[in-house]
Amino acid sequence: MNNWIPIAALHEIPQLGARVVKTDTQDIALFRTKNDQIFAVKDQCPHRQGPLSQGIVHENSVTCPLHNWKIDLTTGEAQGPDEGCVATYSTKVEEGMVYLALDAESGI
């Protein structure tokens, strides 16, 4: 039972970039990949809380700007030898509009 919230038009998020969605309690990073997939994760690196939204996006991953941790956006898991996980949220795109569901899918 996802409670979809409309967020923004797809074109308002840059390709291979991100926007920050501010809720009452936290910031969520909303990413757009090269092939227009949208991912949402908590805007906080599991390592030292760096803002993931400010990182460089490549395929389905983002590299944290603070210490270069690479986070898989599909699972929220850190890649390579690093260990850690960030909460992910469901997203969907319908008729050019991006929706977000705020029940955390995974992670903490």
Binding site: I5, I7, A8, E12, I13, P14, Q15, L16, G17, R19, V20, V21, K22, T23, D24, D27, L30, T33, K34, P51, Q54, G55, I56, V57, H58, E59, T63, P65, L66, H67, N68, K70, G80, P81, L102
Partner: protein, 810 residues
């Protein structure tokens, strides 16, 4: 349908190839591994520490049986392959079982060479090659007293040292008159012999073994001159021979080793070979590092990517005898026409020799102090000219070991709790642990696992030294050709070359041309490519914001709490009351919690919220202030002193010249940050001799200095030349900057760049009037497109999405 891949040889080279292959194509093959030894893959180069009692067998296992299971690899130990049937594409084992292959990988390694003298097959005569040999030595040490090691090379001495530690009385017998003659010159070899004798080893030099004595078990050794020596154990360590029996019997072309081409393919296109069994371009390798280079290439071709080539390796040597430091590389015995630099300090037990030809290093031998081995090796591989620091090179790399380590540069002497990486707080013990337990062999792997030297990089030399002393002979500083990142096999230099030569003007085109393995690149290569394209095609290439680090994308320095800092430019450090008033007003309006005067003679405003940036910039911009690019790989500041307008010592108008320099260069993107300074007299109050480009005014003109650095590793500039007019200063500085912009690797500052290419190279380009003028002109052309204030653009609405959060009620 999965293809079938069979690997014969369950050792380091073969398994490394599988690891590389699994990274590229995890599903492609159904893999079966045949190993003659009853163990999973272990770290063969750690056998010496096991023998010496410093490590246990379990410590040196690299891939346990679970690893094979997890990767769906069938491991068959104890039933060795005895025959390859290439027509039917089958291997047949000792027990008569057979298995079909689509591709076959041979990694059969090598065998110790046993001298075929009478008695060589007696009990108690062994080689030093595998776990079984180590076990035999350890058990002999329990029950017997006297050991003879035949062979005074690397392996022989390590075996002798291990047996000595196990309480045996050990004599090393060597055919020649100096130990380790393939790795050491005579003086170093003599030092080594003395120090091993002090530990209790005995030596018989120039002794030719003629016969092994005894009935069933060895009782002694007889030499060619008739002398005899009692022995309960004889270890033959006179060399290794590639194990080519299987391949040869199957009709695969072999010479000394199994002959392979640059793709590690044998003469049978279905059969590949890697490791010590291989002969590549007439060379057989017996060290670990080349095997890993080969593994990468072989895996690439097994994965059908077909883009990698193995072009041979230059190897260096270290002896794994605790407490003895020695290092050698290249041609360390001088030939006619070579020069040598020697430093000898017998009291301290230090000996260093470099062999030079045309002021380039050809070889090196270090004894007692091997810290700079990695540096000499690097200079040698890159063919760097040492002309400029020839007179100090033997004292080592001046900037190795940063301020935090003080004089303590001898890594081996450091305790486990000594902090190596100050940025990430990593101690020596953690690094050693990770290297041993996780089986790491390269700097990159150590960085990935421990984070040591992965931030500012100043401790890279120390980490490399730890790696070298822990791994020993298996380690090479870095592959001779280093790919830009994991996405490509091409190096920075090759990519820069390709962009220029083939007129590549778009990131996708570069990635396609240079065979990128990833569609979008990564956080390492994207900013580099973006810079290279921008520097090479000004006015044509469209800057890609999403390929820039956040600081350059947001035009401010991200701070640890996610706020940004703002630094307006103050040309030459000059400012007016109106400038200061505008800054003060902006600070009050946007609640700036802290202001600070920077070392670059301007003012840093901390703690600005990202969303406030465009509005604040608008205010500053209206007052005529522009971005100081304090956040970018770009021209930072031009620091000046008061100069002759005010200072009684001033010889020229240093402030005015600084302003002119900054007006010409601001906005320029660089491979790394770039700082300048102008001092009005040799007292040098603007500290021009630690800048990327510094000017020191003198009465008769201007001294130009390049390649300085005042940061992590202090480096004093090199004097480029002296010029007479301000116009010449501007022209030379623009030409120098442009040369650096066009040729340096991304994230390489001028200091290492000048050291790498040599000051003479820079001089040759700049002293040639045609080249200098062309460089100057190209710089000015590119500045047309760079001198657009990014703050003003954003204040006017550009890249709005970067600064605005989307707020929702939830």
């Amino acid at each position: 349908m999965q293809e079938k891949l069979i690997l014969i040889g369950n050792g380091m080279a073969g398994i490394r190839t599988l690891e590389e292959l699994l990274k590229l194509e995890p599903e492609r093959y159904q893999i079966t591994v045949f190993g003659a030894e009853p163990h999973p893959n272990y770290n063969r180069i750690m056998l010496s520490p096991v023998l010496a009692g410093e490590k246990t067998l379990n410590d040196i296992i690299l891939n346990d049986r679970d690893w094979y299971a997890e990767n769906h690899i069938q491991l068959i130990t104890g039933d060795p392959v005895v025959r390859i049937d290439r027509t039917r594409r089958e291997v047949v084992t000792q027990s008569g079982a057979s298995a079909h292959y689509d591709r076959l990988l041979l990694a059969t390694g090598s065998n110790p060479f046993i001298i075929p003298i009478p008695g060589h097959d007696k009990q108690g005569v062994i080689g030093f090659r595998d776990i079984a040999d180590v076990e035999a030595m350890l058990s002999a040490a329990q029950t017997h007293a006297k050991a003879v090691v035949i062979g005074g090379g690397l392996l022989g001495l390590e075996a002798a040292n291990g047996l000595l530690k196990n309480g045996m009385d050990v004599t090393v017998v060597h055919l020649l008159d100096s130990l380790m003659e393939r790795q050491l010159d005579k003086p170093a070899s003599a030092l080594l012999k003395t120090s091993l004798e002090e530990r209790g080893l005995h030596f018989m030099m120039e002794a030719q073994t003629a016969e092994i004595l005894g009935d069933e078990r060895v009782t002694g050794v007889r030499f060619a001159d008739g002398a005899e020596l009692a022995a309960d154990l004889v270890v033959m360590a006179v060399g290794i021979r590639p194990n080519i029996q299987l391949a040869q019997a199957a009709g695969i072309h072999c010479e000394r080793g199994i002959v392979v081409n640059d793709t590690l393919q044998t003469f049978d296109p279905r059969v590949y070979a890697v490791g010590e069994c291989v002969q590549h371009r007439q060379t057989c390798y017996g060290l670990v590092a080349p095997l890993f280079d080969q593994a990468k290439v072989a895996a690439n071709h097994l994965a059908n990517l077909g883009i990698a080539r193995y072009e041979g390796s230059v190897t260096s040597t270290k002896l794994k005898v605790t407490g003895i430091d020695l290092f050698s590389v290249g041609d360390f015995n001088e030939a006619e026409g070579d020069e040598t630099l020697v430093l000898q300090d017998p009291g301290a037990g230090v000996y260093k020799k470099l062999v030079l030809r045309d002021d380039k290093i050809k070889g090196a031998v270090l004894y007692g102090d091997t810290l700079d081995g990695a540096w000499y090796f690097q200079l040698m591989r890159e063919g760097s000219s040492i002309t400029d620091f020839r007179h100090t090179i033997l004292f080592g790399q001046h900037d190795l070991g940063d301020a935090g380590h003080g004089d303590e540069t001898r890594v081996a002497a450091l305790g486990n709790e000594a902090e190596i990486c100050g940025c990430n707080g990593v101690c020596k013990g953690e690094i050693v642990d990770a290297i041993v337990k996780k089986g790491l062999f390269t700097l990159e792997e150590v960085r990935a696992h421990t984070k040591a030297s992965s931030s500012c990089g100043s401790c890279t030399g120390l980490v490399e030294s730890i790696l070298a002393s822990t791994v020993g002979q298996g380690y090479t500083a870095a592959p001779s050709k280093k790919p830009l990142c994991g996405c490509t096999e091409y190096s920075h230099d090759e990519i820069i070359q390709a962009i220029k030569q083939h007129q590549l003007k778009d990131m996708d085109v570069v990635r396609q041309f240079c065979e990128w393995k990833t569609p979008d690149g990564c956080a390492t290569c994207r900013p580099a490519l973006n810079y290279y394209l921008l520097a090479n095609w000004p006015g044509e290439y469209q800057d890609d914001a999403q390929s820039r680090f956040i600081n350059e994308r947001a035009h401010g320095n991200i701070q640890k709490d996610g706020t940004y800092s703002v630094v307006p430019r103050m040309f030459g450090g000059l400012c007016s009351p109106a400038d200061l008033r505008a800054i003060a007003d902006a600070c009050e309006k946007y609640d700036v919690p802290e202001m600070k005067v920077t070392g670059g003679q301007r003012i840093d405003l901390f703690g600005v919220k990202k969303a406030d940036l465009p509005a604040m910039w608008k205010d500053l911009s209206t007052a005529g202030l522009v971005s100081g690019h304090a956040y970018g790989k770009a021209l930072r500041t031009v620091k000046t002193c008061a100069g002759k307008n005010w200072c009684r010592f001033g010889t020229q108008d240093s402030t005015g010249l600084g302003v002119q320099l900054e007006q010409m260069t601001w906005g320029s993107w660089m491979p790394h940050k770039f700082k300048m300074a102008v001092s009005g007299c040799p007292r040098n109050c603007a500290e021009a001799t630690i800048k990327d480009f510094g000017v020191v005014c003198v009465d008769s003109g201007y001294e130009l200095h390049v390649g300085g650095n005042g940061g992590i590793k202090v480096r004093v500039t090199d004097l480029l030349c002296k010029v007479e007019t301000e116009q010449q200063v501007l022209e030379y500085s623009a030409a120098f900057i442009q040369k650096y912009r066009e040729e340096a690797r991304y994230l390489e500052r001028t200091a290492p760049w000048v050291e790498r290419v040599g000051l003479q190279y820079v001089k040759d380009a700049l002293f040639d009037q045609t080249q200098r003028e062309a460089l100057h002109e190209r710089f000015l052309y590119s500045q047309q497109f760079a001198q657009i204030d990014p703050w003003k653009e954003r204040a006017e609405g550009a890249e709005k999405h970067e600064f605005e959060k989307i707020e929702i009620a939830a």
